[in-house]
């Protein structure tokens, strides 16, 4: 480890990424175990999954009445959707990291990297928004 050569923003990014990744994995494992051990009811019974997991995503959604976009948030009471919380957390934890390094770049008047962080954030938010919809 060679801290003196690591920039403040890189250290800060690493710290937040570490928190995000660890908490995300914890959420993922706890929610998944609750799902497969039946502590939380499942929207699609586990024993019926082998009959539908070979279908394209679009057909699967239609057949099982599962939601698209952020609709899964309304179904967190079901184990199969509760498990998606950890996945969404892991997918989104870079947003916080980008947000916390922007003030460091701004304080140094490094406007190019402030701009890059803003664009990176917008790309992530656009992807997460569910606005972009296509399918089979």
């Amino acid at each position: 480890m060679n801290d003196e050569h690591i920039s403040v923003e890189q250290q800060r990014y690493a710290n937040w990424l570490s928190r995000g990744a660890r908490s995300g994995l914890l959420i993922l494992i706890v929610s998944f175990l609750s799902y497969v051990f039946g502590l939380i009811p499942a929207h699609i019974p586990l024993e019926q999954l082998p009959a539908v997991w070979n279908l394209p995503a679009g057909e699967y959604l239609k057949l099982t009445g599962s939601p698209t976009g952020w609709g899964w948030l309304r179904m967190l009471g079901f184990g199969d959707f509760a498990s998606l919380l950890g996945i969404a957390w892991l997918s989104g934890c870079s947003l916080l990291c980008l947000a916390v390094v922007m003030p460091v770049y701004a304080g140094r008047k490094d406007w190019v990297f402030v701009g890059l962080c803003v664009v990176a954030l917008l790309v992530q938010i656009l992807a997460a928004s569910g606005i972009l919809t296509v399918g089979h």
């Binding site: 920039s7 997918s91 296509v134």
Partner: protein
């Protein structure tokens, strides 16, 4: 015989045994996988937990070989699980992205703190690759699975060629940095523990590197694979970053690229927890073991085994897509 020589011979024998045992184990698993297409019970005859367990075990072994061979787990996951498990390719690609993302997130903090991943080098590349990965994911979910299988097969065969032929340069010879990388201060210093010295580096050919990252991001989103196989050659051979910085920064770039594409799969309902979570956990546990075995295993042997495995999986994907080996 002097005792020192005897001890060294014993040690060498032990290493050889470890290689043989490991390789036998791996080859048995993969040979079993090869015959699985015919021998495995149908989806209806095997319970859900059997598949989840098989997925966990497969990913555990893939995680072990991924680290010493220097490829990401995602690139192994999609063709192998897509070829030999009953899940639709939409769900396999969704899970593949999460496997690659979770591995990158787990490694990211220590790579950043150790200077082996560099934020200034990564961010410009990651922004472009993230945007194109969204396009790749959207197109991948819009076109028929058979076409994706064919394209996946051809891409995997291309990766095999790249892995077989591409050279690596631990410390590439870089002249003056180009104007763009100089303006963005894409340079750094890291401590190389193996040499116990500080290595100063900078890069060149940044515009071409940025352009290639657009294509890499697209492929990552399209196939749901991590893109370390492409990131590292571009950063190392084209742009001239030291090999360790290239590998570390590549892994960090995946935290942004794969998360963009993962959102598209999640929003389209192409992520099933029963497929994604055992894969992520299995791969991460395997990678932990793989990292510990790094000093015991001969990386070149494992790498050759992985190339053979990818060749087989690539042919399988291609033939499956063409309907020759359904």
């Amino acid at each position: 015989m002097p005792s020192g020589v005897f001890v060294r011979l014993q040690h060498a024998g032990g290493m050889l045994k470890a290689h043989v045992v490991f390789l036998s184990l791996g080859l048995t698993l993969f040979a079993a996988g090869a015959y699985a297409a015919d021998a495995l019970p149908t989806a209806a005859s095997m319970p859900w937990w059997g598949w989840a367990l098989a997925l966990f075990v497969t990913c555990f072994f893939l995680g072990i070989v991924a680290v010493p061979s220097g490829v990401g787990g995602g690139v192994l996951f999609v063709p192998i699980v897509g070829g030999f498990f009953p899940f639709h390719l939409d769900f396999v690609r969704g899970a593949g992205l999460l496997v690659a993302l979770a591995s990158a997130l787990a490694a990211g903090p220590s790579l950043l703190r150790g200077g082996l991943a560099n934020l200034r080098l990564a961010l410009p590349m990651a922004v472009l690759a993230s945007a194109s990965s969204i396009a790749g994911a959207m197109i991948g979910l819009a076109i028929p699975a058979a076409i994706i299988q064919i394209a996946l097969g051809l891409t995997i065969l291309g990766i095999v060629t790249l892995m077989s032929m591409a050279k690596k340069s631990e410390f590439p010879d870089v002249g003056a940095p180009d104007k763009l990388s100089a303006a963005l201060a894409m340079n750094g210093i890291y401590h190389d523990a193996a040499r116990n010295e500080k290595i100063s580096w900078h890069v060149h050919r940044t515009p071409l590197g940025l352009l290639l990252f657009v294509g890499i991001g697209f492929l990552a989103g399209l196939f749901g694979m991590g893109a370390g196989w492409a990131n590292v050659p571009v950063l190392n051979l084209l742009m001239g970053a030291p090999l360790k910085v290239s590998a570390g920064t590549s892994s960090f770039i995946l935290t942004l690229v794969d998360s963009s594409a993962a959102w598209i799969y999640l929003n389209k309902g192409a992520v099933l927890a029963i497929i994604a979570v055992p894969s992520v956990i299995g791969m991460m546990l395997g990678a932990t073991i793989g990292a510990r075995l790094l000093h015991v295993l001969k990386a070149s042997v494992v790498r050759k085994m992985v190339i053979s495995l990818l060749l087989f999986a690539g042919l399988r994907a291609l033939l499956k897509g063409l309907g020759i080996w359904p």
